[in-house]
């Protein structure tokens, strides 16, 4: 079913809307959530919350039909991160985001920067940085750091060798560091 048809079902308040949405994006949403929460029960809870949010917000969200997938994945990522932080605060989960740790290996200055950097400011620069990447590097960055995919899966998805993905990721991280340095965010 197309995204437009699914949004129409939501507009009609048809229960089939949830079913169709789950059919189309459920599996990958689950995967994204699992990569953050690493707990089946939490993932199920998170996905149910997201479907409820979708039911309550679609329409008018997303702003464009073609962004339905992005809207759902964002809901799931946000909700999963929130839950993960809650678990961490309650000491139910002491593990951090290992993929983010990898990014911070080349950006320690960002974490310890004395100057105040707003989240929105960093997001703006990340948008610019992503715009500057070639399509393949862009996809690799997003699948790794937004969708939290392991490099072996990215390699499979992009017809590359795992080692190639790792090499490219390393180069992207170095490039990001150079980009943020150039923009004066880090020294």
């Amino acid at each position: 079913m197309s995204e437009e048809e699914i949004i129409q079902l939501f507009a009609q308040r048809s229960e089939k809307a949830i079913e169709s949405l789950s059919e189309k994006y459920g599996a990958y949403c689950k995967k994204v959530s699992m990569s953050i929460l690493k707990n089946q029960e939490d993932v199920e809870e998170c996905l149910n919350d997201c479907l409820l949010t979708a039911w309550n917000t679609i329409p008018p969200q997303p702003s464009e039909t073609k962004l339905l997938g992005a809207y759902m994945f964002r809901l799931v990522r946000n909700r999963s991160i929130k839950k993960q932080r809650y678990n961490k605060a309650k000491k139910r989960d002491s593990s951090g985001n290992q993929i983010l740790d990898e990014l911070l290996e080349v950006l320690p200055a960002l974490e310890t920067a004395e100057t105040t950097i707003l989240v929105s400011e960093l997001t703006s620069y990340l948008n610019l940085f992503l715009d500057s990447l070639d399509k393949e590097s862009h996809a690799i960055f997003m699948f790794r750091y937004w969708f939290n995919e392991p490099s072996v899966e990215i390699a499979e998805r992009l017809n590359l060798k795992t080692n190639t993905v790792n090499v490219k990721l390393k180069r992207i991280r170095i490039k990001l560091k150079g980009f943020l340095t150039e923009k004066g965010l880090i020294e």
Partner: protein
């Protein structure tokens, strides 16, 4: 800035980046096969007498993709080439071109020029850059989308001093593709010479390397070697 805020910043990137990543179609080219075609060979055969101050262990840089790769040349006190060595390059990440949807794009200089029409099993695209010191660096891309190869080299003091070839798996009669671009006929003549001599079949290369790796060549052997490999003077030009 807290780690969590960095995580939030990543989460908040524009929707378009999420959509573009999900819609990205990987090239259909079977890259794994390309890796098997790697053959790195260095040719640095002419005397370097004209280069005053050449010391033993002089290093030359080769263009490879967006990076420089190192090719080391050993020369004697008279500037004669004795040996050379090079790194193995990763043809999956270091090529000066990119293949997408059956089209070949030259990416080394960031132009992403579509060079598909220049490339075939007989023809090639040539890129030349002259650096601050007047030394020339060239890259030649030839072959077909599923059977591409390239050759890079340096020209110093008007003489070709080194080149590296990654040749396609299949070459008609073992001959290098012709070049279409003819901006500088003399220089391209030199490049064409390089290609014809160094972009050939693997067996010939290995035989050549076996001999070249022996730094104790007798005078007679060296003369014979140079006779075969030294560029014809018609092709030697002055750069800069």
């Amino acid at each position: 800035m807290k780690m969590e805020e960095i995580e939030d910043a990543i989460t908040d990137v524009d929707d378009v980046h999420i959509v573009n990543a999900l819609n990205y179609k990987a090239p259909t080219q079977k890259r794994a096969k390309i890796g098997k075609k790697i053959l790195v060979l260095v040719a640095a055969v002419i005397t370097l007498n004209s280069l005053v101050g050449f010391a033993t262990g002089y290093s030359l840089r080769h263009y490879i993709g967006k990076n420089w790769a190192m090719v080391s040349l050993q020369v004697d006190k008279n500037g004669n080439m004795l040996s050379s060595s090079s790194l193995n390059y990763d043809l999956e990440t270091d090529t000066p071109y990119h293949v997408e949807d059956g089209q070949i794009y030259f990416t080394h200089d960031g132009s992403n020029k579509n060079i598909t029409d220049f490339c075939s099993i007989y023809d090639s695209f040539a890129y030349v850059d002259v650096d601050f010191w007047g030394n020339g660096h060239y890259i030649i891309v030839g072959g077909t989308t599923d059977n591409l190869g390239f050759c890079v080299g340096n020209v110093i003091g008007g003489k070709r001093v080194s080149s590296v070839a990654f040749y396609p798996a299949i070459l008609e009669n073992g001959n290098a593709p012709r070049m279409n671009d003819n901006t500088d006929s003399k220089f391209y003549g030199l490049v064409q010479y390089t290609m014809n001599h160094y972009w050939k079949g693997a067996i010939e290369w290995e035989e050549w390397l076996d001999r070249f790796s022996d730094t104790n060549l007798s005078t007679e052997e060296r003369e014979e070697f140079e006779l075969v490999n030294k560029p014809h003077f018609d092709y030697v030009i002055t750069m800069g």
